[in-house]
Symmetry: C2
Subunit: 241 residues, 2 copies
Amino acid sequence: MNLTTPPENAAGRSPAVDPNAGPARERAGASALGFGSEDDAPEFTERQREVLDAVLKLMVAEGDGFSVAAVAGAASCSKETLYKWFGDRDGLLTATVRWQASKVRMPKLPRERLTREGLEQALRDFAQSWLTVITGDLSIALNRAAVGHAGSGKSRLGEIVLTNGPFAMKRRLEPLFEAGREAGLLAFDEAGDAFRTFFGLVVADAQIRALLGEGYRPDAREIEIIAARAVRQFLSLYGQG
Amino acid sequence: MNLTTPPENAAGRSPAVDPNAGPARERAGASALGFGSEDDAPEFTERQREVLDAVLKLMVAEGDGFSVAAVAGAASCSKETLYKWFGDRDGLLTATVRWQASKVRMPKLPRERLTREGLEQALRDFAQSWLTVITGDLSIALNRAAVGHAGSGKSRLGEIVLTNGPFAMKRRLEPLFEAGREAGLLAFDEAGDAFRTFFGLVVADAQIRALLGEGYRPDAREIEIIAARAVRQFLSLYGQG
DNA sequence: TTGACTGTGTACCGTACGGTACGGTACAGC
DNA sequence: GCTGTACCGTACCGTACGGTACACAGTCAA
């Protein structure tokens, strides 16, 4: 889902902690359930990040099918190092997805002194940035990989992408919806329903079409229009007053 | 997308025509652009259909990763026969997707004497059946395969699924929307926009979550509720009078 | 200088799998 | 009966790739 670096990156972390004391697959990101990525991204050394970025490039170029040898070649490192750092191919893939996820930051959402205009603007920004992300090459490549792996059981890629995609979006939006309701701007019974509607209006068929390889992608201008219409419709359904 | 057999099957076709005069990959389904599946499904012999159904089972069980040997084993046929019939592994996969696509029939939609209740009911039926299909194991397995292949360039699986999925849905719905507009029941500028909204409200995050491997799937009762809400919202946005 | 450590490059192994070849059987037409 | 065709079962081949082993280079500390 959200896997690119649109609005604001969080670069420049200190690579103090060593990223893995064994096969990287054993490392939990941190935070109790399903790793965080909000503030406690998995740490990698500079060199490791270079490697992971090389993997990202390869994935965009040729999907999940890249070989470990190709990664070693592209990143100018030895296969042995890759296996030492990431355990196996799957660990490498997982680390790559986490690394990318840690780079994504969602747009800020206002929580206080909500006005109708403020809410509308926030939703529009959010929708726009979301659409930009999910139609980006990187996000598409990673989602494709995750979808593929979700089929073959093993590897929790799907889970990771889900956590950083729709679930993160939901976690982020629902407080805003609640705030909107308290401010008398929105009316709904279940925040979950409101989220589902918002997601549908914004994303619609864009993501599945992109994943299935349709060539066409909306540009920034179109995304702006789509986002604006989605928000207008959402407010028409759930707006108050 | 649409790839199961929910409302009505079209079984019992005469296997008169021989399905392939060379590698099956060369065969166009028929009908000018992007093969039809409406009435002119690709024909396969009884035995071939058995084989393709075996592939479907395998795909549901283990995704795109099945081996040709496994297919031969499951279908009790020889690998050589498979290669003779379908050319290569990819041809087998493509034939399977086409075969499944040919089995799907969309729910009928009324086109005349549209009443508000008739329109509403038709939309509800359509949404319900659509949700049932896309959350089904078969559809999920095939979509996963198509998404995966869309990444690695070759093989037009994505295209096929797209044609029989969102595009078919759109082709089917837009006339209904137009009819609704002419009957004074709907108001919109672009039928495409209306479709996009309808798609979003109905499908929302259900498909991507299923593709990414989230365990939960809505049951028939929940689907009914979701479909009803989506249609209500759609009519609230585009309804007239 | 020496030695421990980290990483590169490369050669290598095992295996899984796509694709082919071939022997054997059933059956239809002559 | 003979021949051709269609199919099954299985053995086989080539290769690509995941994973491992090892030799060599650079770096840093004592």
